[in-house]
């Protein structure tokens, strides 16, 4: 089972972030430019929250005087659920399903080292899962006295 660090090694450890007082518009522009669905929101070197397409869609209607120039602080989500690099992709799947989120920041000793997205999960599933099951099946069928029905 691959762990989070393996995925970060292959996808890259880019973290796209904005500051608390950056505008919603600038956050959306960054997301469009990088082809991503969420950005981490920083207060200096500390993570304050996460702003996703879902936050944008949901909070457009709930914030008084909503406009694209508001600071992203007003629409971000907290708390931020994260994983450690040595956790498994299955842990990520479980966290995403349970908390209904599509992005999970990766923290190592208090430092943000990457973000895992639901797309990374799907890509890994396509590549890895069938391999693992195939390997097990091949192992079982190689034993002369054991056969799969």
């Amino acid at each position: 089972m691959a762990n989070v660090q393996d995925i970060l090694n292959s996808k890259g450890q880019n973290v796209y972030a904005v500051s608390l007082d950056d505008s919603i518009e600038s956050a959306l522009k960054l997301m469009a430019e990088k082809g991503i669905g969420a950005v981490v929101v920083m207060n200096g070197k500390t993570i304050s929250g996460i702003f996703s397409e879902r936050d944008f869609a949901r909070k457009t209607l709930t914030i008084d005087g909503f406009n694209l120039n508001l600071p992203v602080q007003n629409v971000m989500s907290t708390p931020v659920f994260f994983v450690h690099p040595d956790q498994t992709m299955e842990d990520c799947m479980a966290l995403m399903t349970d908390k209904r989120i599509r992005h999970i920041p990766v923290m190592e000793e208090g430092k943000l080292t990457g973000v895992i997205s639901i797309r990374d999960v799907i890509k890994w599933l396509i590549a890895d899962r069938s391999f693992e099951i195939q390997e097990l099946e091949r192992f079982v069928s190689s034993k002369p006295h054991v056969g799969l029905v």
Partner: protein
């Protein structure tokens, strides 16, 4: 092998649609109410597009004077990729990754019968994964003693 049909049986086949002339505000409201990320867009009963959170996030900034009173057809995606009930969930995963989409309407002989999301796919794969690998491991264990 899990098929789309099985997934719909588990999650239900509710489809939420909106008229292409409805406002973005109404579309967002419906999505929030139903806790979903995309709507099928219709024009007098015909499917004409899909409107998703991604369409909203990407396109709201492209208009000089964006307002939530604008109509859905101004921001929706017109090209609708869909799947059929007989397709496997694995195939849908591949489509979603390749085409960078998170929702697939399900069409059965030209009729809209449901919608599956990337979240549905992950959820079902998670439980399937645990069962399948666990079954095989039990099997190995039993026969190795």
């Amino acid at each position: 092998m899990t098929l789309v049909r099985d997934l719909l049986a588990q999650k239900g086949n509710a489809i939420w649609t909106i008229s292409c002339q409805a406002s973005i505000k109404d579309a967002l409201r419906l999505m929030a109410e139903k806790k979903i990320g995309a709507l099928v867009v219709t024009d007098v009963g015909y499917v004409v597009g899909v409107f998703s959170e991604r369409d909203y996030a990407r396109k709201a900034i492209s208009f000089h004077d964006f307002s939530v009173e604008m109509t859905v057809d101004q921001l929706m995606t017109r090209r609708v990729l869909y799947c059929i009930p007989e397709e496997s969930v694995d195939e849908c995963m591949a489509i979603m990754t390749q085409r960078n989409i998170r929702h697939l309407p399900v069409m059965d002989e030209g009729i809209l019968v449901g919608m599956i999301s990337i979240g549905d796919v992950v959820k079902t794969t998670l439980s399937e994964m645990d069962n399948r690998i666990k079954d095989l491991e039990d099997y190995l264990w039993v026969h190795m003693i």
